[in-house]
Symmetry: C2
Amino acid sequence: MSEFRTVQSWVLQRLGHQCRSPELFVSALTHRSFGGKHNERLEFLGDVVLSFVVSEWLYRTFPEADEGLLTRYRAHLVNGETLADLAVQVGLGDRLNLGGGELKSGGFRRRSILADALEALFGALYLDGGVEAAKRCIEPLLQSRVQALPSLVALKDSKTRLQERLQGVGLPLPVYTVEAVSGEPHEQVFRVRCEIAAQGLVTQGIGPSRRRAEQLAAEEALGRLA
Amino acid sequence: MSEFRTVQSWVLQRLGHQCRSPELFVSALTHRSFGGKHNERLEFLGDVVLSFVVSEWLYRTFPEADEGLLTRYRAHLVNGETLADLAVQVGLGDRLNLGGGELKSGGFRRRSILADALEALFGALYLDGGVEAAKRCIEPLLQSRVQALPSLVALKDSKTRLQERLQGVGLPLPVYTVEAVSGEPHEQVFRVRCEIAAQGLVTQGIGPSRRRAEQLAAEEALGRLA
């Protein structure tokens, strides 16, 4: 019981949520290395809760942004690096139940465990208090990052920059060709070739979508032209 | 006005939802080739609404399933193929506003447009009636597929099958090594090597996560051992 009370007060203090089912939060704060009920199922749920809350928020906050920009905004907000930073910010490391082996791990491994546990906490918040509880916790955490997003518009994508660069010197546009697609339908990997004939330049990009592979090939081409 | 009324009655009949803001559904049913307000922003939102609804449903329906199985279940339910099938099932093709060029397209291209429009409809449902409205539409559509999922448990993942295969003949486990990681932090591509020394067999997998790349390398190894 006292473990529940400790967690309850930690969740109230750090996430601003009065929890009804503290056992959910104990699980969320338990890495599988600790034994017992761990946080992986909650992480599965929390990952998509976070993505959902952030997507709706971006949709409403940036009514003029097209789907491509919204997707880039979301990827900028919801990634392992940001999550690990937020986990550190809420002091999650001090509350995490970790097995002996993992206690010693540092650096990347530790940051990834923290990021996963934060997602699990979002899952617990959702189950305990619905979408509203998740929003009330997630939005303040990401507020300053969302406000800083519009300055990213300046960061044009690589294909656009490559195109503008070539047009600027009167050259024809690069030609993108999908060379190979592998993997199952829902998790395909695309290999795309980018050819700038006038410069005799050919680059390749590999990514989880054709668009992404093209961007990587264009990025590579930009670097080679530099 | 009459366009709104037609859409309203179509949404009620096909998706079982009494819509308050028919203009949302007109956008959802409008491909960018048609001009005017198209469905890409709604697709951005609907994609994550669908993923959220399905994830929670799976989380509650399969309390014994671990995160890996839940992820496989979700990937099985939420992919372009299934969405295109569902779009055909609700008769979405007849209501879609398509530009002249796209009207003629068939096959894969058309199926992808249908799948995207169905996601956009889920986005519209959510904005119009909240998570509950999205659930009321999505769950009946996927009900039979969710019920059929447990039989998929038999489909063990490739790494597990490869391991069991090797153990079955008294061989040591394969060794997986990450050979290369490329791409930005949130969209990395992993190249993993799978080595079965006793058989002098080396395969490679490329995927959007280490786990996925390992699975693909294991799958390849299973094929080569066959």
